[in-house]
Symmetry: C2
Subunit: 340 residues, 2 copies
DNA sequence: TTGTAGGCGTTATCAC
DNA sequence: GTGATAACGCCTACAA
């Protein structure tokens, strides 16, 4: 590899000590204007940029951000990565990815070890892993910076970005009732996920307010997978009469509903309206396209990145306090007015 | 953060010099058995592991692998990441992701700079960026280790993993002809991508061998996007008569074909067979499910990771030579025998 | 087989 | 405002 210029080169050429160069690099205020300009010029001429490793070794920082997740939704991950990276590149950080197994017993040690062995400066944690109190506690105990992305306000606002799924589902409920539907089926997510509970409650609560009750046998707990969506849709659609609407906790399962409806000869949206959640790639590809809820994932991820950097660099910003973003309803072809 | 034990602690406690500890850490052979065991015990007791930054600074290595891509297919990226990471975790590396804009003029500088500023030990490059001769040349000039994933054998075998798309498309052609189809439409990928050319040629070549000619107006150049698939499908299906089969260069575009067929009242697979490429998530979700070609992406990525590490650590392995993997045909609902 | 000494490129301490 | 000098934790000639 070509030898890159070092701080020593800069110091020698500009005729000052490297301590002073260091001051300029780090934007310290106590440097004479003339000195600063002279040094800056040399830096520019040389194309010098500080070596991350040396810098990290001395300051015990790595300029590395970690992304911890156990989420089957690749599209979601991809959007998060893009959001985080847009901030990283501005601020001189890099992103190290770390998928893990939420289920395994040693997953907390695994994550901690990940951070330790590479001196990761801070981690962003995605749902559903982000819902783990144990992980958050373990990180906090070890003074590891983290920011969680979640659907519930379960941490200090400096450590979390939450999407208001409850409010979004409330909107969806209102919309469906406005179409004249009163018989609604639900395929929820796994009940041990806060996100699933939030969505379910937000949905049912508003329905109730509007005078619509959801019978118990119309709520089925799914696993957020396509296969599970198929299974649950089947047990919902063999009921007689079948519901007028099915809301599925994510688009994957909603796609499963479409599949089963097609098999059973149930026309969507003529005889059955279907809604999902995520605005996954699938939502537009599927026929009919899905009415769903879109989270501003890229923006949330960027916000999370700003927060983690604020934590690392110990400064206050307005980002510290803003933490709540609201997803919005996207109406497509899979929902329609109730038949008379 | 808790203070981690250092090599000095290990040396002091085991009563040897840190040079000897260093030898044990790095698996040097010239250490007395007794000494080695004694030191190893201390290492285990302390839970010591060498600091990556210090190590990197001294040895000018970072134990970081980079992943360079500009690919809209999040699913593909996700699979690659998992494949690479499975090897990384075994070998003590971490993965740093770097999406970039293939189109922009400074993308090469951007990538080089990415590697330099974090002292990335080596990069894995995904298609279509991997097809860039300029990038490869730039990396080689600067002695940056790289491995490309591609559809064509366009580099030293130590630097590439290629999927034999040509052979796979040959299989597809044979399969379609065996169903009795002779009138075939094609939505190719952008012609400036090798992958698109390989697939197109592999397909047409075998068709010709089987006595099937594809008329020029039956081949349309798409852009690998869903929208482009819709557009191209339309101009193919308004021809009279329309083709019996449409092969699209990827599943995204094939999904577009299904959409248009649905709009135009063309039954798939009864009146039109459709095939894609990738075995994207879409392939199974869509109705009817797609006949397509699956690349063993995770395995390819793992192989690429092994190759890049071999390059970094300068050793020969059998991985150096194996570089070609063959995708295989997956037959689903979207293709069917030609009607009499 | 083992140890000594110096260096990797930066930041931090504490004088001046 | 500026500059020696010592860390930071590890690796690598070179010596013994």
């Amino acid at each position: 590899m070509d030898k890159r210029p070092t701080i020593n080169d800069v110091a020698r050429i500009s005729g000052v000590s490297k301590r002073t160069v260091s001051r300029v690099i780090n934007g310290a205020t106590n440097v004479g204007v003339a000195t600063r300009e002279k040094i800056q010029k040399v830096i520019d001429d040389l194309g010098f940029s500080p070596d991350k490793q040396a810098r990290g070794l001395a300051a015990s920082r790595s300029y590395l951000l970690g992304l911890i997740y156990d989420n089957p939704d690749a599209l979601y991950i991809d959007q998060v990565q893009r959001g985080v990276l847009s901030v990283c590149s501005e601020r001189g950080y890099e992103l190290v990815v770390h998928p893990c197994n939420y289920d395994t017993e040693n997953f907390i040690d695994n994550c901690v070890h990940f951070v330790k062995r590479s001196n990761i400066d801070g981690v962003i944690i995605l749902p559903p892993v982000s819902e783990s109190k144990k992980l958050a506690a373990a990180l906090r105990d070890r003074n590891i910076n983290y920011v969680r992305m979640a659907s519930v306000d379960l941490d200090d606002h400096a450590n979390i970005v939450v999407s208001d799924d409850r409010a979004a589902l409330s909107d969806l409920a209102r919309y469906l009732v406005s179409l004249g539907h009163r018989d609604i089926g639900i395929i929820s997510g796994p009940k041990h996920y806060y996100s699933a509970i939030e969505r379910l409650e937000g949905f049912c609560h508003t329905l109730k307010e509007l005078g619509v009750d959801v019978a118990e046998n119309r709520i089925i707990e799914g696993k957020n997978t396509y296969e599970s969506g198929i299974e649950c849709a089947r047990s919902l659609l063999i009921q007689s009469p079948p519901p007028q609407v099915i809301f599925a906790n994510n688009d994957e399962m909603a796609a499963g509903v479409l599949k089963v409806a097609h098999e059973m000869g149930v026309a969507v949206p003529e005889s059955l309206s279907v809604a999902g959640f995520d605005d996954n790639l699938l939502a537009t590809r599927v026929i009919p396209s899905l009415t769903t809820v879109q989270r501003p994932v890229v923006a949330m991820a960027a916000l999370a990145a700003k927060k983690i950097i604020a934590l690392i660099e110990h400064y206050q910003t307005e980002h510290q306090d803003t933490y709540l973003v609201k997803p919005h309803l996207i109406i497509r072809e899979s929902t329609r007015k109730a038949q008379k």
